[in-house]
Symmetry: C2
Subunit: 356 residues, 2 copies
């Protein structure tokens, strides 16, 4: 197959991990007889520096004209003091909205060879295999009004948690579809004892769930979910929740594995291409040092192959290669324990490629 991929290296370690991911893509192309064409675009800090805006229109256009978008990382202290609309994260929020990427998929899988990296006990994390499905284009992130107000008794401020029923339906449906391909359980997380939006969310989850009699649906309050993720994470298969709850819970869940450097993500939905990125940040402190862990980005490529290109054999090949490399004891610095062989970014990439 012939696929066009928009590549957005971004800031910090972004360009380095993206380079690794492209090498892996090239290897897959060769082995499985595909052709991947790359078109490069700018977003975040580098776009602010070079084009005066965190999300140039040309980037949106390039993304829309492609089959998949691969992103490195955005942001860094350099841009932290700029006014709100000029911050790198506006680029991220903007591209999600522009491409209507309403479903953020964050798998959390405990790699057997990395169990000790977690701050949780081995027996608690061993076997964890869950996927957080976070709504990504609604809720408090985009609701209006969002403003300061001068009231008679002083200043006040408002943010708005807004959802259309149809927005809840499509994300919950996505979760059920994914659960069908996994262990057939959906945990819908809300705060139905307090929020009206959560009560609608729960209703919709029940309605959608009725069409998936083969998938078990369970509701959980968000405060309890925050506990259960630590108490007994193995109880979860697919967790679906609204944007802000998902932001918090998915970062919490990422700690189960002990390393952000291992975790990929996919943002899908809408008509256009999906966007794939590691969940770690731009790590400016180690940028340019050939030290960054490329595995999260490489695993994001696997997600792109699986979800956007329908190439599950190719995706499996990448994931298996990563597992093999870990089992052989190879590590980048962030996931290394004392006896491990520490590799730099390029060496780690090389090992993965050898194993594909």
């Amino acid at each position: 197959m012939n696929k066009v991929i928009t590549v957005i290296p971004g800031d910090g370690i972004g360009p380095e991990v993206i380079k690794s991911a492209i090498q892996v893509l090239d290897t897959v192309a060769e082995k499985f007889k595909h052709q991947f064409t790359y078109q490069y675009a700018k977003l975040g800090g580098i776009a602010i520096d070079e084009e005066g805006t965190p999300l140039p229109q040309s980037t949106i256009d390039l993304c829309k004209s492609s089959d998949g978008v691969l992103l490195g990382a955005v942001g860094g202290p350099k841009w932290d003091t700029l006014p709100g609309h000029m911050r790198p994260e506006k680029g991220l929020l903007g591209i999600r909205k522009a491409l209507q990427l309403y479903a953020n998929l964050r798998p959390v899988t405990a790699h057997n060879s990395l169990l000790d990296a977690s701050t949780l006990k081995r027996e608690v994390v061993e076997g964890v295999d869950l996927m957080i499905v976070r709504e990504l284009t609604g809720g408090l992130y985009f609701g209006q009004p969002q403003e300061r107000r001068q009231e008679v008794d002083g200043e006040a401020v408002v943010d708005t948690l807004y959802y259309k029923r149809s927005e809840i339906e499509r994300i919950v449906k996505q979760a059920f579809e994914l659960a069908r391909l996994r262990s057939k359980k959906v945990t819908s997380v809300d705060k139905a004892n307090v929020l009206e939006s959560s009560r609608l969310w729960r209703e919709v989850a029940e309605e959608v769930g009725a069409n998936y009699p083969d998938v078990k649906l369970e509701h959980m309050l968000v405060d309890n979910a925050a506990m259960q993720l630590i108490r007994n994470p193995k109880q979860f298969d697919v967790v679906v929740t609204e944007n802000m709850f998902g932001d918090i819970l998915s970062d919490e869940a990422s700690m189960l594995t002990g390393s952000l450097g291992m975790l990929p993500s996919a943002s899908i939905g809408g008509e256009g291409p999906g966007l794939y990125e590691p969940i770690h940040g731009s790590a400016p402190d180690i940028a340019g040092q050939n030290k960054a862990n490329p595995l999260a980005t490489i695993l994001s490529v696997a997600m792109m192959l699986r979800y956007s290109f329908n190439m599950s054999e190719e995706a499996d090949a990448i994931e298996q290669a990563v597992t093999n490399v870990l089992e052989a004891g190879f590590r980048t610095g962030d996931i290394a324990e004392k006896d491990d062989k520490i590799l730099n970014t390029e060496e780690m990439t090389e090992k993965v490629i050898e194993n594909i």
Copy 2:
């Protein structure tokens, strides 16, 4: 001193753990020559059953006429299917608002003799001593509008995150005051890269912080805080945050200790009395069996003595008694490991009393 305490046993195991707490209060009264007068009130499920409302006006009046309120637990499956305004938790939310209890204090202390009860590794939780200060009467919990809407393209729903500047000021101030009595560090948690309310929150935290040059102020994004609580909880002293973030993070943090049965809370602020309650629920499955762990409620009594009655010596005596009992190896079922001596509710209470 002579103090009037409104006692709200509530539902499930509430009456049992309250009975223990009263015995402890009586012991303190005798030993330290105080007089505590108890007036009983109803709230939650039992109030729905007997008075047709989760929060009778008489309960509010009794609370207002007292020096402190001690609450057991509210709710249970029996009332779970009632319409929203008739749910037990409405009683809880209502009493917070009626007494203007804007500051919810949740200390999380790792007891050395219970370290293994946590799902986190011993070295991660050993020495944890943090306090979450959650704003309790604002934000998404009470903001208006909160409603369903019929729009041209279908049903939608809105909740509102609303804060007055003055509401943020008073809770942040509370956090700084507490930090002064502890390790002099405040972590203010927000989502300033997305929410306008968080940007105001951060501004106010800076302003208030300027009056406490002896206390270190640090800002942390809520998603990062959810990670850091698991990655390295010892970095925290006082954590202050808005209502919903606090709900999620405080329940997450409660897991550090491994047992909800140990954790007290205080809700203070306003002109009237503070309210003290264990953070655990009503545990209907073990209600009436003399099995519940009374320690969280007993430790809540210690918080009442300390924060509402200014009796820190008395509070210390209770906390020390609990530590002694744990160190002697006594446990209720919820916190027992194989070699421990398992006590029932009454026996555990007796042990604490002996140690005061």
